[in-house]
């Protein structure tokens, strides 16, 4: 084939052409070869001697040997280091060896700086320039993608931050809506007790229904947000799965009985081990599904079940399901059933459709638990909601913690000495302790406490001691108490409305085993008692209290009625009038003491009296008055003496709050 082409044509097809004799010297060369390797082109140096050939493999040089590699690629690097060729060898009919090629562009691009072969030095059919362009473009594409990725990451980060801010705002607004809405609901309930016309009664029923639904939406939204925010950090607990399911069935029993529906446990009736997992989420999920099933089942039964699907080395795979005998869900609506606000998909049960948020939340709960909720339904027969999750099996020996978590039964007994200079606090907290089946003695000063300990026939198991008492503060009182025989190592818990970290830290460093902030919250008190009180051999169970009812709340900035409702829940409504009466008497005395301290410019007394009044007013939900007193206390602490006229302005706030407290008390009576 090559013999049919005129030799001169080769110079048009290749930029490097070398006609090589058997002696290895070049007899004729192309212009590009002359430019880059003049000593080769002019016959001073043998062609193959002036290059080191990377290819063909095993080629050591020489014209004769080159002819044994005809048809192979030659890649040669000039021994001068500034040039390289790629090409092939042919042999003409008359026995001449010819090298045909081009500059080896990529090698020169990578290894030779300052020398760029020109476009015109490559025949048009050679693709090396195209290749270089492509490689350069590929590099810019990588840069483009990296820049886009960086943009996406930055945008994602921004969106996440924005989402946190929006969620926080949303939560705040929801909380702010919930309080006044509780007030609306309470007011509507009270109005409904009045004699009303049928039309007004009907309108009131509509208003109440709407308010209840709105409250439900807010509560679901807040719960949902809480799950989003905290589910990944949700604590892992040990629990007994059998007990958990039985508890769920017990919890649903009142409503089921009300509808004459039977609740049945299905699946495995006994699991071989206890489990470790996100108990709160699991409980809430099952409770929501069970509640839904009862709601939509007009008659018949509801099944709650769990079954062990797979026992693994690390985890057990368990399927949970709730089966109802409701109207069922049409197939085309199954996909939408877990969408937020998906209501009206089921009818015919006579039940309110609710907000449509329950199943949406269940879906997210299950996702956080590591599963996916599904629904199987037959119209007219019922629906089954189920999910599969992995739980880590544990020995039942590790279940002490779980028993408390699932049954909520607490065992308390013993004697407590409560020390506070305020009669209101003594009465209030005394009632709280007695409601927990404890024996309580009270003392209104450190000296009185020491006398009580010395004169008591039986020892006290725990002493709750106020830090801010007028004649002897809590720290001194604790030291005196520890000097009483038998009480050197007593469990003394500090009580104070000061919640600053330094006060808390000092209390725990000096004399006290724990610090409780006032007003004392029942749950915190129970946790404290469980920690420091001895367990009873008689197993006295802490009575569960009913949830505070929404219609017990009077809520605004002057007065937060939920506090009184909580007190009613904890100590009983019948004790409230006496308690409030004590508060009013004592606060009047404290008010005069504060006025006197201001008149006498006695900063220390102002701090003490303002602190005392602030904590008692806040303990009864007088928000504005308590906040203003707390501000006065802080200013006095920093050395600024408040003006007496401030007290007059504050008295109006206090008076307004007290009138609302009394009105609320009347409704609770």
């Amino acid at each position: 084939m090559t013999n049919t082409i005129l030799l001169d044509h080769l110079y048009e097809l290749f930029s490097i052409v070398a006609e090589i004799g058997d002696d290895g010297y070049v007899s004729r060369a192309s212009d590009v070869l002359k430019k880059y390797q003049p000593h080769v082109a002019d016959g001073s140096v043998r062609f193959f001697d002036s290059f080191t050939f990377k290819r063909p493999s095993g080629f050591s040089g020489g014209a004769q040997e080159s002819r044994s590699h005809i048809g192979e690629l030659f890649l040669g690097i000039a021994k001068s280091g500034d040039f390289a060729v790629r090409g092939q060898v042919i042999q003409t009919q008359d026995g001449k060896t010819i090298f045909l090629g081009v500059p080896w562009l990529w090698w020169m691009h990578e290894n030779v700086s300052g020398v760029t072969p020109k476009l015109s030095e490559f025949p048009v059919h050679d693709v090396q320039m195209d290749q270089l362009l492509f490689m350069s473009t590929q590099k810019t594409m990588v840069d483009d993608v990296q820049a886009l990725n960086a943009d996406l990451m930055a945008t994602k980060s921004h969106l996440e931050r924005t989402n946190v801010v929006q969620q926080s705002f949303f939560n705040h607004v929801s909380h702010e809506m919930r309080s006044p809405l509780n007030g609306v609901i309470s007011a509507l309930t009270l109005i409904s007790d009045e004699p009303l016309s049928d039309r007004v009664t009907e309108l009131l029923r509509l208003a109440s229904h709407s308010a209840d639904r709105l409250l439900e939406v807010i509560n679901f939204s807040l719960e949902s947000a809480a799950v989003e925010a905290g589910a990944r950090e949700e604590k892992v607990s040990n629990f007994d799965l059998d007990m958990l399911i039985d508890d769920q069935l017990s919890g649903g029993q009142p409503r089921a009985l009300n509808k004459n529906i039977e609740l049945i446990r299905s699946g495995d009736l006994e699991f071989p081990s206890a489990y470790q997992g996100q108990l709160r989420l699991l409980k809430q999920t099952l409770a929501n599904l069970l509640s839904n099933a009862i709601k939509f089942t007009p008659v018949g039964s509801v099944h709650l079940g769990a079954e062990l699907l797979e026992h693994g080395q690390q985890f057990d795979r368990i399927r949970f399901y709730v089966q109802d005998e409701g109207p069922g869900i049409p197939e085309h609506q199954l996909e939408k059933i877990f969408d937020p606000f998906a209501t009206g998909l089921v009818s015919g049960t006579g039940e309110s459709q609710g907000t449509g948020l329950g199943l949406s939340i269940v879906k997210r709960y299950v996702k956080f638990l590591g599963g996916e909720v599904r629904v199987d339904s037959i119209v007219g027969a019922g629906s089954q909601f189920s999910f599969e999750i992995e739980l880590r099996p544990i020995s039942r020996d590790k279940l002490i913690e779980a028993v408390a978590a699932t049954s909520q039964a607490r065992v308390l007994s013993g004697r407590v000495l409560l020390v506070d200079d305020l009669q209101t606090n003594l009465y209030l907290n005394g009632q709280l302790l007695e409601s927990l089946q404890l024996t309580v003695a009270t003392a209104s000063s450190g000296v009185e406490a020491v006398n009580c300990l010395q004169q008591s026939d039986a020892p006290f198991d725990l002493i709750l001691l106020d830090l801010n008492m007028p004649d002897m503060d809590g720290f001194d009182a604790a030291r005196k108490i520890r000097s009483v025989p038998g009480y050197a190592n007593a469990n003394i818990v500090a009580l104070s409305a000061y919640t600053a970290d330094n006060m808390r830290q000092r209390a725990q460093e000096e004399q006290f085993v724990q610090f409780l902030s006032k007003p004392i919250q029942r749950n915190e008190l129970i946790a404290c008692l469980e920690r420091w009180m001895p367990a009873s051999a008689a197993e006295v169970v802490v009575p569960e209290v009913a949830e505070a009812l929404a219609d017990d709340h009077f809520v605004d900035s002057d007065y937060d009625g939920s506090v009184l409702a909580e007190l009613a829940k904890n100590i009983g409504r019948e004790k409230l009038p006496n308690l409030v009466s004590k508060f009013l008497e004592e606060s009047a005395v404290q008010w005069e003491a504060l006025r006197l301290a201001l008149q006498e410019h006695n900063l220390d007394r102002v701090v003490l009296q303002a602190h005392t009044l602030a904590s008692t007013t806040l303990a009864f939900g007088l928000i504005d008055a308590g906040t203003q007193l707390r501000q006065m206390e802080n200013r006095a602490l920093s050395g600024e003496l408040p003006h007496l006229t401030e007290l007059d302005r504050m008295s109006q706030t206090l008076g307004l709050g007290i009138s609302k407290l009394q009105a609320h008390l009347t409704t609770l009576g």
């Binding site: 760029t116 072969p117 020109k118 476009l119 492509f134 473009t137 590929q138 810019t140 483009d144 886009l148």
Partner: protein, 182 residues
């Protein structure tokens, strides 16, 4: 046009006027996003919209904006990943113009949707050249003029644009540039 052109326009605006100005141009142009990929072919309308909005926002006429863009495009191509290719095209202005079509031919083998303009040297002497520019596109001659200016600067070649003549053409653009060199 390929994303590489739009990217270059963005780069020019940001380099000279800042990110805020570019975002303003993006908003006003109606172009949905500026995540241009070099090797992706975009509708010419995107480039035209960006260029005309840039002119509006900067308060200059479109020709001036395109002239500046042509200048920037050439300068940046001479210094970025394409520098080797550009430098291989010629060691002086005339050689570069002579080889420009050859370079475009090679680009066409990689950028498959590439429809490059054509440059023809009609006359050449020691004093100057007459160059014809032909394109199926309309309105980009100021871009070419900015590009020619930047080329002359790159090769340190004194240059004077003696005349710019629009030649009769059935469609697209045909311009004739008479350039004095020296």
């Amino acid at each position: 046009m390929y994303g590489i052109i739009n990217k270059s326009l963005r780069e020019m605006v940001i380099d000279h006027y800042g990110e805020v100005m570019w975002q303003q141009i993006m908003t006003l142009s109606g172009v949905p996003d500026d995540s241009f990929l070099s090797l992706k072919s975009y509708d010419d309308e995107v480039t035209y919209a960006l260029a005309s909005t840039t002119a509006d926002v900067l308060g200059i006429d479109l020709g001036t904006a395109l002239h500046a863009f042509g200048h920037h495009w050439l300068k940046s191509s001479m210094s970025n990943e394409y520098a080797v290719l550009m430098n291989s095209t010629g060691d002086n202005l005339v050689e570069f113009l002579n080889n420009l079509n050859s370079m475009h031919d090679r680009i066409s083998s990689t950028f498959l949707d590439y429809r490059p303009p054509e440059f023809k040297i009609i006359e050449q002497s020691a004093e100057g050249v007459v160059v014809d520019y032909l394109s199926f596109r309309l309105g980009l001659s100021p871009f070419v003029e900015g590009l020619l200016e930047a080329l002359a600067e790159h090769f340190a070649q004194p240059m004077e644009m003696v005349s710019i003549e629009a030649m009769p053409v059935a469609s697209g653009t045909h311009m004739r540039y008479s350039i004095n060199l020296g």
